[in-house]
Amino acid sequence: MDERIPVVEGLFEEDAGRARLLGSRCRACGTPYFPATERCRHPDCGDSQIEDAAFGPLGTLWSYSVQNYPPPAPARYDLPYVPYALAVVDLAEGPRVVGRLTGDTTSLRVGAPVELVLAPLCHSDDGGDLITWMFRLR
């Protein structure tokens, strides 16, 4: 099986090789939302005008850490457990987003340029790959 199954439907897509997070933006005040929202929640925006928006792939690493022990449910991982790096990323013209890091994580630094990718979280029950959004150094 080489099936790629999104861990949750409707949160992300790959468009011509570019990973994008699917959310929304308020046209009135510019606030980005991920996941999508039906109504602008900015308390200073009295004029909610929500439209679909996609964010990424370019961003800046705000911070990073390592999940050194197996996380509790509902987190998913393959056995044997391998620690993974975590990130908070400020997406260009987008929100501040949490995600895992993939690729080379030995030279991480706050402020490093990163990009959004879709990558396997773990194997699904039927042998395919469960896909989620992640970040990697660019």
Binding site: V7, S65, P72, A73, P95, L121
Partner: protein, 392 residues
């Protein structure tokens, strides 16, 4: 608003108690608070209790009802307050408001907890509309790694070192070992802390609080009643609750806005600011602070965020010994969450006990000399925070 005093406090020691129920722990704490106040259970006019999702409460967070049924069903009103780890502080604020507003003269504030083993799971909800569920499912970022991200950010911004992080834990145990109610009463060296397992890089096992069982109770009453009971009341000078602002930069849920400035833990900053304002005191007037140190990071970040010291100054004050009970800015003379472990919803009331003992001069080897004004703060899931200022 009427003046309100704390006239009795009590605490069951923190630890892991396989053979005791949360009701057992609460009975011990409430009994000790009643004895301390010189009151009988019949004197309690209302209960403001922290709601738990981990223990007791008939699965509905009705923890105050458990206490009343166990102590004797006198028919008194019970308020069960839910605010994640801020629930104890929230219950105190409502108890305070009930007495200050004149509805009751004598109110019991109580929080008790028996925690499941392991690190706290942040969400029990399994719905794809729940941001905490999605965060754990799609990313896998439990509490310690969230704290680690904040800590790494501070290290990059201000140059905090791993040694300095470890020194916070060393200092916590240096004072907490003198607290008979603490779970971990052992002095740690810098090498012990730096040698403990990495839990979530850059945070190590001894730099993160584990979960504990425990219970704490406080009896608060009107000024007239307080003066009948004691010549040594501790006054509630400020009590505030706040929730997070929209422009907060903390990475909560899956995503938030990139804030215009360094706005973090806005709920805690607002609660502390409001409590200080109500009390009519500034940071320079505080003799001690009990803050929510789930990890060593908070003991460095919070005092700066609240204006207790300048940004980047916390490490210097720590290394000079100024955060010890004998220093200029004593932080967590109880030993804090690092020495007690977190019995989540009991922590806000645990802080009331420590502040009261400190202000009465009853804190023994961890006593802040001549303490007369003290601050306490909690922070809970959902963007909840509370703060209170007690005065002698």
């Amino acid at each position: 608003m009427r003046e309100v005093a704390v006239v009795g406090v009590g605490m069951h020691p923190w630890g892991k108690f396989a053979d005791r129920s949360v009701t057992d722990l609460c009975r011990f704490a409430v009994g000790a608070a009643l004895d301390d106040a010189g009151l009988a259970w019949r004197d309690i006019e209302a209960v403001s209790a922290a709601s738990s999702r981990f223990s007791g409460g008939k699965g509905w967070g009705l923890n105050g009802n458990d206490v009343v049924e166990d102590m004797g069903s006198t028919g008194i009103p019970v308020y069960n307050l839910s605010a994640g780890c801020a629930a104890g502080g929230n219950a105190f604020n409502i108890g305070y408001a009930l007495v200050a507003g004149g509805m009751y003269d004598v109110v019991l504030v109580v929080g008790g907890e028996k925690m499941p083993k392991g690190f706290i799971q942040t969400s029990g909800v399994e719905e794809e509309t729940d941001p905490e569920y999605l965060r754990q499912l799609c990313v896998g970022m439990p509490g310690p790694s969230f704290w680690a991200l904040l800590c790494r950010q501070r290290m990059a911004a201000l140059g905090t070192t791993e040694q300095q992080l470890a020194k916070v834990a060393v200092k916590a145990h240096q004072v907490g070992m003198h607290n008979e109610n603490a779970r971990f009463r052992k002095e740690f060296t810098l090498e012990d802390v730096l040698g403990s397992n990495m839990v979530s890089d850059p945070l190590r096992l001894f730099e993160i609080c584990p979960v504990s069982d425990g219970a704490a109770a406080a009896i608060i009453c009107s000024a007239d009643k307080a003066r009948q009971l004691t010549t040594n009341p501790v006054w509630i000078a400020g009590s505030a609750v706040a929730t997070a602002r929209f422009d907060d930069g903390l990475p909560r849920g899956l995503a938030g806005m990139v804030p215009p400035g360094p706005t973090m833990h806005s709920e805690a900053k607002m609660a502390v600011g409001k409590a200080l304002e109500q009390a009519g005191v500034g940071p320079e007037d505080l003799d001690l602070t009990e803050l929510q140190d789930n990890t060593v990071y908070y003991e460095l970040a919070f005092p700066e965020e609240w204006g207790l010291c300048k940004p980047g100054e916390a490490e210097t004050l720590l290394e000079k010994g100024e955060t010890l009970p004998t220093g200029k800015m004593p932080i967590n003379p109880s030993g804090g969450f690092l020495c007690f472990g977190e019995a989540t919803t009991a922590m806000g009331v645990f802080q009331v006990c420590e502040l009261t003992w400190q202000l009465r001069g009853e804190a023994g080897a961890r006593q802040v000399p001549d303490a007369s004004v003290a601050l306490a703060q909690t922070l809970g899931l959902g963007g909840n925070a509370t703060a209170l200022v007690l005065k002698r």
